[in-house]
Amino acid sequence: MTEPSTTNPTALAVEMRRVTKQFPGVLANDCINLQVAYGEIHAIIGENGAGKSTLMSVLSGLLKADEGEVLLKGHPVRGRPHLVSRRGLGMVYQHFMLVPNFTVAENVILGNEPGDRVHLDLRAAEEAVRRLGQDYGLNLDPAARIEDLSVGEQQRVEILKVLYRGSDVIVLDEPTQVLTLQEKNELFETLRCLVRDGRTIIFITHHLEEVMALSDRVTVLRRGRVVASLAIQDTDIATLAQLMVGREIGPGEKRTGDVTGDVVLEVSDLTAVSERGLQALDGVSFGVRGGEILGLAGVEGNGQRELVETLTGLRIPSGGEIRIGDQSTHGWSPRQFLEAGVAVIPENRRVRGVVEPFTIAENLVLGRHWKRPFSKGWVLDLGAMEAEAKSLISDFGIVPPDPEILVRTLSGGNQQRVVVARELAKKPVVLIAAHPTRGLDIAGRQFAHSCLLRERSLGAAILLVSSDLEEILDLGDRIAVIFEGRITGILPREEASEGKLGLLMVGARR
């Protein structure tokens, strides 16, 4: 598929010259020059909305640049994704595009099936997948079904897919977002191995430690422009952070003051079953006091999602009790939880958080729309909705500041702001924040943290579910760890450390 590299070694794998891409109202890419040499790992960093993904869409042929030139291995790229992919460019997206009930091998060969016109040679496919896996340390059972794999394993399937197609320039879009520490290290090993083999990697992220650990060069984007392109040995995290944000970054807010409130959220011996009939929660007990943040750490998939759902009435527990204040929540609907003052920042904002085809205003009143002033009897008060939206937009800095804009068109960071704004506007008694900073840049993360701390100081009982230990250690008054549906330990902040938590996260009982 890929033509042999006839170009000389000093030539560039990817070269972008003065690429400009304008969207209505936004100059997404402004005269961007990018040079990626053969065999290097090139990181592209930037805040939300810096233009990273637009640039990659231009590279992959998904979007056509208004001006400028894109060269892939010396050949001009012109808006045809399948042609670009045939030239050897492989994209690994953050959201995997896999067929869940196909096997690994079937997914990998999808679109390039071996065999003659009629027959599918699955055996050859499995063999090819096994060989590729061995070569690059991507160990997977070719016959396993995607739906049975962990997120990290699914990502390996995506990588196998592009390798199978013979791609030698591979773009990874925020690949570490969903991975555990262990998986992240394995991924990095694989990437290094690929580079040793002569492939070129472009790596999009905003985690600066990863950049420092992995890449050879880094290009920093800010507001659609390239602000720097540096060799990794010539820079450090602080410099990169400053380049990325465009100003000096102060230390994040820290929590202050002791917890004095009563227990508001009390969970005892809670059990729940997942969709697939497995025991997702197995006797979970904890309490959260008013004005306290309880951090819940754990590797993803250990019951966090089910816990959040039972705490908001979306999943009916199979046993145990949840008490809010002095009320038992037995048999409550989601609406009753809401009315009792439980607010939730859901882990997947596009699924549970926002209604994308709704406007910002509509999303901001969702869940309160039946109350005055937004509804008078049966009729919505659009004026009141707009007024509320305007005030929340300015309080939470949602961009663009127009209540009538569809949330679908917002960046992920701004969508998250919409969710946070809406939930905090409910003046919650109990706030459940599941991965509240996932996908946010540094500024967004600091903003979300300060919001949580403000709610804490206002006396809300906050359960912070996160797989980001740093976040949990920064914010939590106490830290609980969940493993396989059980709480393996609850530590006061003072006693917690990454090491201790790490042990608890893999199931070591205290």
């Binding site: 969207f23 637009t54 959201h95 609907s333 989601p334 809401l338 859901p346 068109t409 960046s411 960071g413």
Partner: protein, 370 residues
């Protein structure tokens, strides 16, 4: 999004008419292939639908039930439900209207009409609630149930029409004539023998009411929210199942009204076979109207005109009537294509489009590969 500039309106209109233009173009080729002149045929179609007051009244007569079924299907669509059952709901509603029309006597005129209309709506409501509740409570897919209920409705009304209690004595399988007090006045001012009737006003009122419901009420807000994103709606305390069964019920009631319009205005009894196809055309009408209740009116007029014009073609040219049916089919096909393309473009916009920043794109990460 609030941009209501002339350009936008023109573009929207153009997008709606593009399928029609394409269908006419393909139709022209087919008509040529059978040796007729497309211009003549199209001229006939135009004349047949708008050429005189009589023909105009025919077009309006066809459009009236399509407005009801179009609104019915569009409403269900907004809640993410696919109501293929408008056909059956219409039948049941029509039958109920006929029953109330001949069985209740001694009521003053307007009141009797109201009774009949309510009976039709109630019958359609029941016919919509069945799949609605099955979907809401048991998760049974509404498409299957509504299709099956179409057959149940067809067989049930066929059976009942033949029953001595309902049947008008004589050859023709129809119910007794409805009482004069329950007749919807026909538009005789338009044309002496017009069949289009005051049911059209009801249709327009229902259309506007549903438009208002969706745009301005709490319930409409919840319908849209559930239609767009059931998970997020649930998390926001909206009862998904309640929205589903109430919307299916309401959608059924509206389709049932189409039956009342046919019975009280056009036939003045329930005839067998009852007019067939308005429920299905309703799907095409809703599609063309992009599920916007107010756009159902022009969409229904277009389909009404196509149906009405078909007859003119049959009478006055050598072109077989089937050609106009083919034309309608191609039209629907192009609407569907356009619909899909539009969605694709929307995805495209989200992908790299006018985001305040590119992050959303990274979040989505759904690239298209072809």
């Amino acid at each position: 999004m609030k941009d209501l500039s002339i350009r936008r309106i023109v573009r929207e209109l153009g997008q709606a008419l593009l399928p029609l233009a394409l269908a006419l173009a393909v139709g022209a080729v087919i008509i040529l292939a059978i040796g007729e002149n497309p211009l003549t045929v199209f001229g006939l179609m135009l004349r047949g639908s708008f050429g005189s007051l009589r023909r105009l009244s025919g077009t309006l007569q066809e459009a009236s039930p399509m407005i009801f079924t179009g609104v019915s299907v569009a409403l269900a669509f907004r809640a993410g439900l696919f109501n293929i059952g408008a056909e059956g709901q219409l039948l049941i509603g029509g039958f109920a209207a006929a029953w109330a029309g001949f069985a209740l006597t001694g009521l003053p005129g307007p009141l009797h009409v109201v009774f009949c209309v309510v009976a039709a709506a109630a019958a359609g409501l029941v016919w919509g609630l069945i799949p609605g509740i099955l979907k809401a409570r048991l998760g049974v897919h509404e498409v299957i149930n509504t299709i099956m209920l179409n057959y149940v409705a067809l067989s049930l009304t066929n059976f009942l029409v033949g029953h001595p209690y309902f049947k008008e004595p004589g050859q023709i399988p129809q119910t007794r004539d409805i009482a004069a007090s329950s007749v919807l006045p026909r538009f005789e001012f338009l044309y002496a023998h017009a069949k289009v009737n005051a049911g059209l006003w009801v249709a327009l009122a229902v259309m506007v009411a549903v438009g208002y419901l969706l745009a301005r009420t709490r319930y409409g807000f919840e319908i849209k929210a559930v239609g767009y994103n059931p998970e997020a709606s649930e998390a926001a305390g909206i009862s998904k199942s309640r929205v589903i069964w109430t919307t299916m019920g309401l959608s059924g009631a509206i389709a049932g009204l189409a039956g009342a319009e046919q019975v009280l205005g056009v036939f003045r009894c329930f005839v067998s076979p009852f007019p067939f196809g308005y429920g299905f055309v309703g799907i095409a009408v809703a599609l063309l109207a992009r599920n916007n209740p107010l756009a159902v009116l022009p969409a229904a007029l277009i389909f009404g005109a196509l149906t009405s014009g078909a007859q003119e073609v049959d009478v006055h040219s050598g072109t077989p009537r089937e050609i106009t049916v083919v034309l309608q089919g191609i039209f629907v096909l192009f609407i569907a294509c356009e619909f899909v393309l539009r969605r694709k473009r929307r995805v495209g916009e989200t992908e790299g489009g006018p985001k305040a920043g590119g992050k959303g794109r990274e979040e989505e990460g759904r690239g298209e590969d072809g």
